[in-house]
């Protein structure tokens, strides 16, 4: 049993940590997340230069051949610094669907571009009315000539405004919510018939509502098998969940540390408030939640290569733990910081908000509890 990082992994963590400490300060973050663009594009190029975008991708296609542990390390550090750059949609989701579903040509073209920082992808999977069910789709792609024609609408596409490519799920056959009949396309955002409405999000990122109106998609933009895209997407989402859980653990650690520190400084009734047992126990529980979250993030990360059922169970378990713990830690941090925790000026509230959206992303606690329980019953049967 060994949970220690290899030398390479330690180097990776140190380099991300150092880059963010030097270049991704909270005050800068505040400025660029409120600017017109919502991010500072120089960071994406720097991430490419540091090898972060190539880290988990296969060596044969321009990657560095790391595994999910690399993404975990990167995302933990990103979580600590509230990084908004679209690593998960591009490197994790894009990397996953291409690696596991892409043709040789597609891999050669797109994995190399991801690794080099030459493309940004957004993941257009959610639809209004579909909630968290990845197969509940009204967006359709119909065969036309050698390619497809795409029609429909996608909701809250994170990083949509920054992306040049959209990873789109669409129904190519079957009824709404059928597992069979889902296909995955890589759609050029500039293609005729794609329209977007960009907007800021409550966690200081950006997203788009995306409409497809008779968008012609060439055959070489289909990723994986026709009608059999759901397993590919489920795998990509489970990988995205693992990475997002890692981000959440980074955010939770910051909040626990900040709250403990604040409770040592802030005095009321002549003593630091950290001396009050009611607050001590709450902070201990925040710490326990943060540690449990770190553990379950390791669990899911190390099980991404297991059987489909084991992988899904691991991802759902992690998402439930992170959702509950994120809320507990976020709410506790705000509460113990008192009025200060309510301010936009202090970073605490921004971590709390990010942990809130993370609970919803890729399915909330209720959704994953249900999925976990259903998978468990299947196995027993």
């Amino acid at each position: 049993m060994d949970f220690s990082f290899t030398e390479e992994q330690t180097l990776l963590r140190n380099s991300v940590e150092k880059y963010l400490a030097d270049n991704y300060k909270f005050e800068d973050w505040r400025k660029f997340t409120r600017g017109d663009v919502g991010r500072d594009p120089k960071h994406w190029s720097q991430f490419a230069e540091l090898g972060l975008l190539a880290a988990p991708l296969p060596e044969a296609y321009g990657g560095l051949g790391g595994d999910a542990v690399s993404s975990m390390i990167i995302m933990q550090e990103f979580g600590r610094s509230l990084v908004v750059e679209p690593y998960v949609p591009t490197v994790v989701v894009g990397g996953s669907v291409l690696t596991h579903g892409g043709s040789e040509t597609q891999k050669e073209e797109w994995l190399a571009k991801i690794a080099a920082g030459e493309t940004i992808m957004a993941f257009a999977f959610a639809e209004s009315g579909g909630r968290f069910n990845l197969a509940d789709l009204t967006t359709t792609a119909k065969k036309q000539g050698s390619g497809y024609v795409l029609n429909g609408q996608k909701s809250v596409v994170i990083a949509g405004p920054w992306a040049d490519q959209l990873i789109v799920t669409a129904r190519t056959s079957g009824g709404r919510r059928d597992a069979k009949g889902v296909s995955v396309f890589l759609v050029d955002k500039k293609a005729k018939g794609v329209s977007v409405r960009d907007f800021p999000t409550v966690d200081s990122s950006r997203a788009s509502e995306v409409t497809f109106e008779n968008v012609e998609v060439p055959a070489d933009r289909l990723i994986g098998e026709l009608d059999n895209g759901l397993p590919l997407i489920e795998r990509a989402v489970d990988e995205a969940i693992a990475a997002t859980c890692a981000e959440a653990t980074g955010a939770m650690k910051v909040l626990v540390d900040a709250t403990v520190e604040y409770s040592k400084q802030r005095k009321q009734f002549g003593v630091p408030i950290g001396k009050f047992q009611a607050l001590q126990h709450r902070m201990v529980d925040m710490f326990v939640n943060s540690e449990q979250s770190t553990s379950i993030t390791l669990m899911v990360t190390l099980n991404l290569g297991s059987s489909d059922v084991e992988r899904k169970k691991a991802a759902s378990a992690a998402k439930v733990q992170i959702g509950n713990s994120g809320r507990f830690v976020g709410q506790g941090a705000v509460q113990i910081h008192g009025g200060m925790g309510m301010t936009d000026e202090l970073n605490v509230g921004h971590y709390f908000k990010r942990l809130t959206t993370i609970d919803t992303l890729y399915g909330n606690v209720d959704y994953h509890l249900r999925r976990f329980a259903a998978l468990d019953a299947d196995k027993a049967a």
Partner: protein
Amino acid sequence: MDISFSPEEEAFRAEVRAFIAEAKTQLPKASVGEPESATRSKEDYLAWHKLLYKKGWVAPLWPKEYGGPGWSVTQRYIFNEECAKAETPVTLPFGLSMVGPVIFTFGSDEQKKKYLPRIMSGEDWWCQGYSEPGSGSDLASLRTRAVRDGDYYIVNGQKTWTTLAQYADWIFCLVRTNPDAKQQEGISFLLIDMKTPGITVKPIIVLDGAHEVNEVFFDNVKVPVANRVGEENKGWTYAKFLLVHERSGIARVAGSKRAVEKLKEIARTELDDGKPLIQTEAFSNKIAELEIELSALEYTELRTLAAESKGKMAGPESSILKIRGTEIQQRITELTEEAVGYYAFPNERRLGSNEYPVGPDYALGVAGRYFNMRKASIYGGSNEIQRNIIAKAVLGL
């Protein structure tokens, strides 16, 4: 034991209902809806106040001689319930429920004449100068200093978390007039004109992007001694009186009931695997738990009101209302945020003012309200402090 209303009370309810229906047609659009709306102007805030004032109903807590409607506790309860059901705006508490009662209970005749009519009419907007950067839960440690200089006090120091001070004409302040006495014994209660030279108001932006609260700085501010309420160094007595008044109505049962109805409407519309979210077991159980807790709180509040109507002042048990009331308010906003799924993400405060909302109308601002409502367990004596009060004063621990 009887929980029914008398025919007179039912007649009163009908009268209130009829008034509200008519009054609502006269309200500007921006004055209705969530109280922290970004587009609400000072006039919008006051629109409901002025309609109630015209009717003579603006100050239910005030005795008749100062212009109150002379309602019984039950009538006040009915009035609040009907207002919440109809989703009317709320009047701001700072003048009507806070400084007003302090002035008519402890103020001089001149003070009553000067301030009360203008609070009632809405001509003067009041804000509350209690908390300071170093004095939150431990309010009595406050350090804003008032030094006597002939007929004036010279005030120096800082208040914070001052709600809507940006609109205020007056601020009621706790200031230290005797630094050598024991903490609670050196405090006085001053009424300060916000136009006095030396006062600076600085906005504090909170989690959902709203400008609700402020810092207020005092730099050699000259305040006439005539603006002191009651005796010098007895301000803590008046402050505590006000805090008790602040707690009445803190349970917000009627408002929470309405908010639960809204949540259920949303959960009936949102789909989960093709069926309404409200039909999924996990979510409907959570709503049920909320409703049950709220129903218990309603009866806890009624018990308090019944005791009050027999002339018994609310005691430290009323901290229960603050604790559970705010926890329920927070839970409702949390579940509403959960109900709308991904459409909680759009930040409508950063959309251009002419842009239509992203997603369904009912999702507008739900995340912001969840974030914003975290304040409820912090303000008005944090819920930790309320638990300390119960531990000490009720359980004798």
